[in-house]
Each structure stands twice: as structure tokens, then as C-alpha cells.
Symmetry: C2
Subunit: 783 residues, 2 copies
């Protein structure tokens, strides 16, 4: 919803406080624009107080010699001289009006600005004057800074020239900055006694911001007694031209910067997972100017005057599966700032700080480690977290089996084909080498089963068995049972299919032992879904049986219980922390691992941080009085306070989300659809999933939690396949249909012939419905 | 310098603006404390304006029925009613006083508070009232929030109850939060018209902060006309007891939290590089309550009433070599907040955003990539950055040599013994397996030379040759030449030692080729210093000759020039970006690599981020129209905007630091000591380094840039040696000598028998002198 027009330079005016001269200086700007022969649009989105005192009235009165170029508007007007949220409450009480939600309010500004943009015949200026101070409440009761944020308009801050004004101006600036706003200028009145501008000029110059001090107007008394003459003289004398030029320059620089970014990026970056030889040119570069909630604001050069150069683009992959609460969530920014301000980063070995300790305890006692984990080892990303997990498991195995020398070096892992644990070489070595995902030093160590998978095909849930199992398995298991039955692992444990799985796994492992293959030292699983491998929804029963067989008979692993068979690692980097609608996959599978790894959502989608959790038995394998036997692993920024604090805030907010209206409603829909209470569920609509699975071009569909996966029919189904991209390419174009929702395109990622879509945990239901609608239309067009 | 006493609860009072009622509500608190039978200390550090209007006078006047318990003080008093910085300037002009620097000002508060703490016989309260708003300037012209930060006192924010006060209160809070302050309570006046407290209560309750609205005092007029009676009645009626109890509770909770942290940390963490079996107990846990500049504020339980529970501890390892600008640098917090507020994290493949682009261009055009690098690949830490570098180099070699299949998998690297490139397994595999630093899947692939090393022994610079070279090399090279000669690589290239190096390397490589060892596919170096390997200062001539021999004859590698011989990787994670006093080691060595890796200082010591730079020739090895040939590597948070923005701010500030007085003076000292202009240099004093090298217990010393390394004499010199820790253990105890500088202990790290000390790039010279003094005393005590 961000707005940027070449011919219409727009600035929003924020005040460092109430009564600092916002309207006077905005009037001066509007006049100056008109005098400079620009159409000058003034918008006061909300005005409170009697009409004769209203800011827009003042502007009209003093719009100067070129007043026919001046256009003023007010969208919401209340006659009580109180804060907008109180005025709106009063009006709602007495006039039974509904309080205007932020979305509606912002949309009304967007519509108005678009009208002005098409109305302006030549170069024009627009000034949007906010009310009160930066954080003054809006109609809905949110604060202005937050409410206006999706518009992402460049800002002029009117500083406070009175006693205390230095502090007020700096604090207001910092609040603006925490929402990412571009502050193009600070204007304030000159005051010879307090000389705030003398202090503020060098202060902000160091921060790259121009401060301009302007003569103060005559006393307000003149205005009140309707003696407008001295005020008019004041405006006539005020020289706003340098400010106007500065603002024009900033506007042009911003446009030039955005236009230059594709070329410069093509010249400087080496992108991850990108074949640069396939990038066709500047048009293939997504220029992200800002982001908020689920949307990128993306630069698109425009020829049409009335179309914004910034387009809303839905972040359809939740930015590589990281987003939990939407982009630029203010609470996460505050958490990051709080930790940075208190600690910066402090070294971690044998040290402690509150954010890390709180996070560790949360993960162990109220999080995925509950009931089985005793320790948290921090690192930087899922891949490093997995390297640590592997080092833990291999050492625990070596110690228990009393392996020495080369025996320790010849260990492998057991896993599933299609798994992915990250891109560092140790994490790669825990995966089968197949297809293109490999490198010179990749040396796959272990054995990987072809797993049975779950999907919805032609409206029916289906378990697809691998070739090794298909001929023998009971055919009714490719079943019409519901999805909730598939995920009811406890009930399925005594089905014939479970017996098949058990027999098959047992036999395979026995054959492996006698084959001279590397000795297996750990079981490594991505529970429920193998993400990067192609959004493969594994039959959870198979994973459960695999763990059971590996562990052999005995009590379920729990806190203070030693591991049995092989140490079991759950890589929950992608699947954990509610990505699939559940905090952890442990309750569903009915078994806990000995080691688990968490990242991505952990920090709400802001900064890298990973946590490897371990049982006490694993920890004890390294515990001695010999330093050489310690886990000699660490990264410089281990347990960085900023990341830990952001993680704590994320987990706190996510727990609130669990009880949100949207989640309760979505869960109810899936219960209805499956006819089962407490079933697995998704934010995606079950009927939509059902319908899409019947589309001609679609092979299968699956949805859990925030994830929707659509596999398209394609004979060439490898990683390099472009079929899903091609089929759904119309999603990349912003719609033009009239709709309540702002129009947006969808930025989505594919894995060969699989297109997937992933929301945040708090994506608005109407946004999800709108994506579903767009996907459906795209499928219709392509068939 | 943070202060925390069990019996003396201290709060600082900040105002959301001037004239919001700070003094009135502080008076109410002081009275209430006295009425509750607590000694009540009131401190106004700076007062401006006529004495009869001064805040402390108001307190004295209205200190209530227990006034003998009330103690008021003011440290700096100015009679002009303007902002302190103006008052100080005026006084400096007319009374030729010097303006008080922040350090002196803070020390005077510390001394005063300590006096009060020892004076208080029982439980007591103290209130420190600041002046104006949160960001109002102090005497020196810094803003209060920054200036008071080292004290890290819990805060009471006095909210603004007037029109605009909602915004002023929230903004002031956010500015406090950005400096990490603990805000224990917000107090403000009740106002039935604006009802700010109705809005602020739920707003801050969500953020865990209690807002209390209190009756407003009678009009100020009464006070001005010396009719104190109504004011006195007002205070009598005000019920501050709930607030007092809340503040007491918060104080007790904070103490209890700190006291509980060692035990809880021992129970929850698995620390990096720590043998938990050697951690003796709670006393071995460093509890970091906050940090600022070069100091941790560390919790120490105290029995002595007058001693603070928080102790200043110098971060002697620059928090594992990450710190560049000191902890909690406000500019880095603002950068982090700005990027978080604008983007959060946005996905990076085929995308671009301003912070990443600016950083990439800075690294390529004005940074370590200047002249040779064409691309930046972002990742999360030095280890992942090195994995990427290795993948790049190995592939480039495979492609040029047209290797396929198993030939591609059998490649090794050439390096130096003692090198370290991180803890992920690929990075480990690029290092020799020796000593304890290994794991099950570590498979060292390559050949590593024993390098000649540089040190200062008994006051003389010495080059120590490895066994393989020692018998044949000219003996005069273990020389009395200056350190600047050792690092003048260009001049040394035609010395006999260079010829020795060349012959030795050439012969060794020829023997390797014929030995059936893995084919070497890359040269991997930590230029100048191998950090984690034991602060090994390698003879730079050896590294230069090694690169020359590997590349063979031909032009020096530069932009658009293909690599020759083997791709060369410089791991500058530790040594780069001025850690050793130079932006990059390239000019000193006189050769550029084909790939380089940067992290640690890159983000100024705040969050993880790494950059791998590559030449165009390396990039081209992956460039095709086949996706499978791309560099298939990426991490979720690749090029996260927060990290990139912090890096940009860091590099900007570091460039300013280069021209600082401290750097210029240090460089001059080293030029004088070595008798050579433009020599290598250090922030450590050359005479100190010289002197320490002569100490009985010391084997050798070296210093470059911010790094000081002291190797102690010890027959058992491995990684597990504790000799350096033992020798210098007295550094861990805070001094008690009288000194201008606040007393502090030193948190330092050792690598076996090597103790090292590392400053930030902006550590104050007086702090460094003080560390030198402490080290010297510790060495004296131990000998």
C-alpha cells in the first residue's frame, strides 16, 4: 500500500509534540509549492475541534497568491477538541457510528492520494498533516506512527522549539526511526532564548538529516481576534524555497536510487540458490523498498502517471519460512532495540544474561523441549544447529559404544530420502546425495529410506507408498479415510500398515548391518514434512514406527532417561513452533527425540538464531573433567542478546496468537471438514484445499498449519523443473479487480513442480481468502 | 559503574517532557519513603535556575512529617534558567570554568551514591531526578539518556498528562528502551479532560509496565505566592504507598533474579567451548546484567552494605573478538531499529534492499574487496562464510580442471598448521586434525605447513622458524631488526629468507604431488594472525611467498583477472576490518586473494552476519543456464536487513575512528618506537609491549592493532593448559586502589598458555593504560 509517484512528491508531516507549529509550517510549505507553480495538495486525514479553528481552514485562509493551485481536504472531521480516539469514541457513542478500523482509514487515504495523483496535470506536491504528536492515537486507538506505516510516506518532522523541545524532538525522531520511516527534514521555529535549533542542527547532521530553523509566527492572539494580516505578512516573508528544493531533491534521489537498484544488485550480489545465468535482467530483480505485515512494498517503474511506483506484493513464502508475525512487527523492533541498548552482544561461554536464560528456560519448560530436554546450545542458523546436533549424537554414540580412532570416523546416520538439514557440509553429509543438491566435499554418510507420503488427490486423502512397500502393503491404505485419521498416529499403531512398516524397517536395518555399510550412529528426521526436499508430507506413522524400531522395546524416552538404540534428532527448524499449527511435532508422533533443532520462526522472522536442545543423557556424554572431551563448538555471536530477546517476544506473542479468533475459526473449519475434534488443521480453508486437489493441472495438494503445497502435473519433476512457476505465473501480476482489499501480486517460491504458499501465524483471514481466490483464478486460467 | 545495593533502592526519575510534574511526584515519593520509615535520599545532579525555584528546595520545603529522614543534594548548580548545556557554556564563558565531561559527571554521582549507601543505616530509598525531558542535554552537551547510561539505574518515567502527552510519554519510553533501561513505573497526573492515563494504562500494561495516575497538585500560582499550605495539603492527601510497594517489589525481584541466575544457567545452558565438568559452581558463572562501552556490569553477591552488587568488568576479549565500538553503542541500536522497522527480514534470492546493496558496494568498492572482488555472498557467521568460500574454490578448481565424479570429491586444501576457520564440519575439514579440536565427522583434507612466526622476546623482535627450515635458514634472520621491518613484506621479498621460503615451499609441493596425497584445490590462509589456533603471528613474508609460489609467475591477481595455480582464500574473519589496525591485510601482503571472508567486526559486535567476497573469475565458474550448476547454498536469514544496516553503520563509524586522536597518537608512538613511518602499529603502548616481553614469566609477546598476546612460559603448552589463566588470575579481581578511573576487574580469555587482550577500535586510551598497568602488576605479583 506504499505510495510513490514520480510527478507527485508526497510528504507526511509529524509533530514532535502538539502545538509545535505543524499547521503553520505546513501552510508555509503548501504556499511555497503553489508559488513555485506546483499543484499543492493538502490532506488532513483527521481533524478534531471546531471547523473555524481547523488546520485545513487555516491553510485555505493563508494559501497565498497562487491559491487556485492549492487543494485542501479532510477525510474525518470531529467537532470536539480532543484526541481523535476520544472524538471517535464520543461520536460512536452519540451518533452510533462505528469506530473506523485502521485498514479502512488507510484505504481512504490511499484512494484520496490516487485521485490527487491522477488529477495533477504536472509536477505536484502533497502534504499529509497528522494530528498531535507522533504517537497520538488515531480513530481506532492505535498510534499514528503504527497506523500510517503501511503508506510508508517520507516524513517531515516539525521539531519543538520550546523548553524541553530538544528532548521531545529527538524522542519523536527515534520513534519514527523505529518504524523505519524516512525522515527527509526537520523544521522548527527559531527561538533566540532556548536555541534548540543550535543543538539539533549538528545532532541531526551527524545522522544525515537537515534541520531548518524558521522564524516563528506572530502570537496566536492575532489569529484569534481574526486579525489575519500580521499572519499573512509572516507567511509572505518566510523563505521556504531552500526547504522545497531539499524535499524535491530527496524525492528525486529516492526515485533514482530505486531505479538504479536492479542494475547495481545484478552487479554486486551473489544470491543464494540462484543461477545468475538464468536471471534475465533488471526485471527479474525484486526491489524491496520496505515491508509490513505480510507484504513487501516493491518498486516497479511506471509510465502511467497515476500508478504508484511501489506495489504491494504478498510474501508468499513467508520469506523463506521465517515469518511468524509479519514484517517489521513493532514489538520485535522494540525487543531488538531493548536488548541492543542493554547489552549489545556479550560473550557467552560460562556467562549468562537474562534474554538467553529466559529463552532457554522457555524452550525447555514451556516449549518443544518440555518433558525430555535438559540443555540448550545456541548457534546462528538451522544448519549450524544441525551440525551441533550431529556432533552431539555421534559423540554420544561413540562414547556408549566405546569407539576409538578410525571407528569413530566411520559413522553414518539413518534418515529419509528427500531430507534437508542445511547447507554447511556436516549438515549436507546427513542427507543422501541425489540430484543437484551437492558439492565437492559433500560425502553422504548413512542410509535413507524412501518414505510413504501423505497428500490430497482428487479430493481424497492418499498415502503413497514407496516402491519397496507398494507391492506388499494392504491396498485399502491408499484410503478414503480422513486427514485426521492419517495424523492420529496412536490409533494407527496397531493397523496392518504399521506392521508392514515395522517389518520393512526391521528387515532393511538387519540387511544393512550385514552389508558392511557405515555403522549407523543416529536417526535424523524432519518430522511430518521434509520442506526443502519438495514439501514432502511424510506419513507420520512411518516416522513413529521408525523411531520405535530404532529404539527397540523399552519405556518412551523422557527426561533423565538414557537414549536407546540410536540417539534421535528431530530437525524442527522448519516444521516447529506452529509452522504446521502445532508447537512441536512430539505430541502428534507420540515420541520425543534426544536432540532437537529450532530456528526460523524462533526469532519471528527478524534475525538469525538457532537452538539445539539435548536430553541429559546426551549432555552427560561430554561431561567430564577433561576439557578435550567438551563439545568444542561455538560461534562468535552465540546466544546474542538481541536474537534471544526477539525470540522471547516472538514466543510470547505466538502464544497469544494461538487463542486468536482466526485460529479458533480455522480449527473449527477443519474439525467440521474432517468430522473429528482436535484434528490437525490449517489456516488454509479445507474446502479450498479439497477443490484445488481436483483441478486438472494439479497432481496433489496438502495443507497443515500455515503451509499449503500444490504439486502440479509434470513429467519432469526435478529440482530444476519450472512447471509450477509457469503454471501459476499470473500470481506475480497485481490484480486490477475492484476489491475491498488493496490489490497485490504474490511473491511465491517453487521447488521444482511444487508450488508452496506460507502465511505468517497472524496473517489476516481475509488476506488468506484473497490468496486462495488468486490461486484458484490462476489455476483456472492455466487449464 | 552500574550501581545496585540491597538495602538502598535507587530510582532515577526521567520526565516525558519538561514541566510534567517530575519534582512534584519525586517529592511525593521522597515524603512517602520517609513516612514509611526509610532514609530517603534525593539527588538532583544538575539544577539550573534561581535557588528559590530549585527542585531540591521544593523537596526540602515539602519533605513532610519525617523530614529528618530526608537528605537532599545537588551536585552542579547554575543560576540561569536554561538547559544545562547552555548554563554550562555560559558559566564556562563568564567564569572560565571548564565544561564538565560526562565521565567526571558520572563519577561524581557514583561517589555520592556510594556515600549515601554507606551512610544509610537500614533499608533506604534514593531518587535521582534528571532535568527536563529524557533527551535533554547534560553539561557536556550529550543527552541525558546516553550520559546516565553507565549507571544503569532503574527508571521511573513521569508521563505527560497534557494534550499531546500520550505521544510524548510513549516516545520518551521508547527512547529509554533503546538504551536498555529498566522502566519500573510510569507515574502521571490524572486529567479528567484528556484522560491520557486511560489510554496509557492498557498500552503499557501490554508491555509489562505499571502506569499510575495521581491527583494533580494545586496550581503553581500558590507556590509562587508562597502560599505553601495548599501544596502541603496536597502532598498529605496523596497516597503513594502502593507505588512505593511496587518499587520495593521490583527492586527485590531484580535482586532475586540476579541471585538466581547462576544456578538456573548451570541447569539450562550448554555453553560453547566449555567443559561443564570443570565449572566449579555458581561462582564460575559471569552474570552480565548490562554492558556499555568496554565494560560488562557483572553481578556479585555482597555482604558489605556499602559495596554495589554490580561490578565493572572489562570485556578483555572484546566478546570473542566481535566488539568494534563498545557494547550497546546507541548508533548501532538505532541502525538495528531502523532496519527492523522498515523491513524486518525480507527474503534475498533475486531480491534487493538498500541495506544489503549499500553494504555489498561498500565492501567491494571501499572495503576489503577493493580492486579484486566483484561479488558478495552473504551468510550468518565466519564458519558459514568459510563453507561458502570453500565451495566456491573447490568448484572453480573442478571446473577449470574439468574434474568429474569421484575426482571432484577427492580434493584437499593447502594451509598452515594452527589455522582455524570455524566449527561447522566443512570449515573444520580445511584445517589439520591435531590436538583436541576435532569431532567424529572431522576429516582433514589437505596439507598444512608449519609456519615461521613473529614475536617479541626479551625486547627483541624474533622470527621463529619451524623445524623443517631452522637448520638451513640464515641465522641472522632471527633478527634484531624492528617489527616494522618484519612487516615490510615488499622489501623482504628479495632477502635470503624469502629464497629459503620459496625453495622450501616449492620442494614440499613437488613432493606432495608425487606422494599420492589428495589433489590440492585451494590455498586457505588467515593472513598475519591465526587467532583461535593460539594467536600465532605468522611471518607475513612466508604467507606472501606461499601465495606467489602457488600462483606461479604472472601478473598480480586483480579484478577481471582469472585466478592462477589455486584459488586463494583469505579468512579475514578475525584479522580484518581494523582488528589488526588495518582495514585489510591485502596491502601489507601485497597480494589479493580470489575469495575472502568477513564477519565479527563487520556488524560492530551486535548480531551475526558474514560476507564472502569473490572475484569475477570465481563467480563465472558457477555461471551458466543450468540451475544445477549454481552455488546451491543459502541460509534463511541471508543478508538480513538488520545485520546489513548495523554493518553499514559500523563501517561508517570505524572510518571516523581511523582519524581519531587516539589512533593518530598510537600510530605516532609506534613510529617513534620503530623509527619508521607508516609502520604496523597497535593501540597497546610499544614500551609496555617491550617491557612485558622481558618479564621472567613471559615467553613472548606480540601486539598489532587492538590485539595484545602474551605467551607465558609453560612446559605444557596445549589447548587445555591453564597456565596463562593461573598466572594472570589477579586480573579477575576488581582493584581497590584509589584512581581517577572507576575500578574494574578484567574478563579475559586464554588459549592454553597464551593470554590475549583485545580492545574495541574506540577504547579510551586511559582505559588501555589502566589495563596495561593491571597486567603489569599481575605479572609482578606472579613472579
Amino acid at each position: 500500500m506504499s505510495l510513490l509517484f514520480k510527478h507527485l512528491r508526497i510528504h507526511q508531516i509529524f509533530g514532535a509534540n502538539t502545538d509545535v507549529g505543524k499547521t503553520v509550517l505546513t501552510t508555509a510549505l503548501v504556499r511555497a509549492s503553489a508559488v513555485a507553480k506546483r499543484e499543492a495538495f493538502y490532506l488532513k486525514p483527521i481533524s478534531t475541534g471546531p471547523i473555524q479553528d481547523a488546520d485545513d481552514e487555516h491553510i485555505i485562509r493563508h494559501s497565498g497568491p497562487e491559491k487556485e493551485r492549492v487543494h485542501t481536504d479532510c477525510l474525518y472531521r470531529f467537532h470536539v477538541p480532543v484526541s481523535p480516539h476520544l472524538a471517535a469514541q464520543l461520536a460512536a457513542g452519540t451518533e452510533s457510528q462505528k469506530i473506523v478500523p485502521d485498514g479502512t482509514f488507510i484505504n481512504s487515504i490511499v484512494s484520496h492520494v490516487r485521485r490527487c495523483a491522477s488529477q495533477a496535470s504536472g509536477p505536484a506536491h502533497m502534504y499529509v498533516e497528522t494530528a498531535g504528536g507522533v504517537h497520538s492515537p488515531t480513530l481506532s486507538g492505535s498510534t499514528q506512527l503504527e497506523c500510517y506505516r503501511p503508506l510508508f510516506l517520507p516524513t517531515i518532522l516539525i521539531g519543538d522549539s520550546r523548553l524541553g523541545g530538544i528532548s521531545a524532538t529527538i524522542s519523536a525522531y527515534e520513534s519514527l526511526l523505529m518504524r523505519g520511516y524516512i525522515v527527509d527534514a526537520i523544521l522548527l521555529f527559531r527561538d533566540e532564548y532556548y536555541r534548540n535549533s543550535d543543538y539539533l542542527k549538528p545532532y541531526f547532521s551527524e545522522r544525515g538529516i537537515t534541520v531548518t530553523a524558521l522564524d516563528a509566527p506572530p502570537p496566536k492572539l492575532d489569529e484569534l481576534t481574526a486579525n489575519f494580516k500580521s499572519t499573512e505578512e509572516y507567511y509572505e516573508k518566510l523563505d521556504m524555497l531552500p526547504t522545497l528544493r531539499h524535499l524535491d531533491t530527496r524525492h528525486e534521489e529516492r526515485l533514482a536510487q530505486l531505479a538504479s537498484m536492479p542494475r547495481r544488485s545484478l552487479d554486486a550480489f551473489w544470491w543464494p540458490f540462484v543461477q545468475h545465468g538464468l536471471v534475465k535482467g533488471e526485471g527479474d530483480v525484486t526491489v524491496i523498498d520496505s515491508a509490513s505485515s505480510d507484504f513487501f512494498s516493491v518498486y516497479k517503474a511506471q509510465d502511467t502517471q497515476a500508478v504508484s511506483h511501489l506495489e504491494s506484493q504478498l510474501d508468499g513464502s513467508a520469506s523463506w519460512w521465517t515469518q511468524a508475525l509479519g514484517h517489521a512487527h513493532p514489538a520485535l523492533t522494540l525487543a531488538a532495540a531493548r536488548a541492543s541498548g542493554r547489552y549489545g552482544h556479550v560473550m557467552f561461554p560460562q556467562a549468562t544474561h537474562a534474554p538467553a536464560l529466559e529463552l532457554a528456560e522457555r524452550l525447555l519448560h514451556d516449549g518443544p523441549g518440555k518433558g525430555w530436554a535438559s540443555r540448550v546450545f545456541f548457534s546462528d542458523d538451522g544448519s549450524t544447529g544441525m551440525e551441533i546436533a550431529l556432533k552431539m549424537a555421534l559423540r554420544a554414540f561413540s562414547v556408549r559404544e566405546s569407539l576409538e580412532g578410525t571407528d569413530r570416523k566411520a559413522l553414518g546416520v539413518l534418515g529419509l530420502r528427500g531430507s534437508y538439514h542445511g547447507d554447511t557440509i556436516g549438515a549436507m553429509d546427513a542427507c543422501a546425495e541425489e540430484g543437484v543438491y551437492t558439492c565437492e566435499w559433500h560425502n553422504a554418510k548413512g542410509y535413507w529410506f524412501d518414505p510413504p507420503t501423505v497428500s490430497i488427490q482428487q479430493g481424497r486423502p492418499v498415502i503413497t507408498l514407496p516402491a519397496a512397500l507398494a507391492p506388499t502393503a494392504p491396498s485399502d491404505l491408499v484410503s478414503s479415510e480422513s486427514i485426521s485419521w492419517v495424523y492420529d498416529v496412536a490409533r494407527r499403531l496397531d493397523t496392518p500398515l504399521a506392521d508392514e512398516y515395522r517389518a520393512y524397517i526391521t528387515k532393511t536395518l538387519r540387511n544393512l548391518e550385514s552389508s558392511g555399510a557405515p555403522r549407523l550412529a543416529a536417526l535424523v528426521l524432519e518430522p511430518l514434512v521434509m520442506g526443502a526436499g519438495g514439501m514432502i508430507f511424510v506419513d507420520p506413522l512411518f516416522q513413529r514406527v521408525l523411531v520405535d524400531v530404532v529404539r527397540g522395546p523399552g519405556p518412551a524416552s523422557a527426561l533423565d532417561t538414557p537414549w536407546r538404540g540410536l540417539p534421535v534428532i528431530f530437525d524442527e527448524v522448519f516444521v516447529g513452533l506452529y509452522r504446521l499449527g502445532m508447537q512441536s511435532t512430539i505430541p502428534l508422533l507420540g515420541v520425543a527425540p534426544d536432540i532437537s533443532v529450532h530456528a526460523k520462526i524462533l526469532t519471528g522472522g527478524l534475525v538469525p538464531l538457532a537452538a539445539t536442545l539435548a536430553s541429559d543423557a546426551i549432555f552427560r556424554a561430554f561431561y567430564s573433567t577433561n576439557k578435550a572431551e567438551a563439545l568444542l563448538h561455538g560461534h562468535s555471536y552465540t546466544a546474542h542478546a538481541l536474537g534471544c530477546e526477539v525470540a522471547n517476544e516472538t514466543l510470547r506473542l505466538v502464544e497469544q496468537e494461538r487463542h486468536s479468533e482466526a485460529w479458533v475459526a480455522a480449527q473449527a473449519r477443519w474439525e467440521v471438514a474432517s468430522g473429528t475434534p482436535n484434528t490437525v488443521w490449517s489456516l488454509w480453508d479445507p474446502d479450498f484445499v479439497q477443490t484445488v486437489s481436483c483441478a486438472d493441472t494439479v497432481a496433489e495438494v496438502m495443507a497443515l498449519g500455515t503451509v499449503l503445497s500444490i504439486k502440479v502435473k509434470d513429467s519432469d519433476a526435478g529440482y530444476v523443473s519450472q512447471s509450477a512457476q509457469t503454471l501459476l505465473q499470473t500470481l506475480k501480476i497485481a490484480g486490477t479487480e475492484a476489491s475491498e482489499l488493496p490489490q497485490f501480486s504474490i511473491h511465491f517460491r517453487t521447488l521444482g513442480n511444487v508450488a508452496y504458499f506460507m502465511t505468517s501465524l497472524n496473517t489476516a483471514p481475509e488476506t488468506i481468502r484473497s490468496i486462495e481466490d488468486k490461486i484458484w483464478r490462476a489455476l483456472q486460467k492455466s487449464s
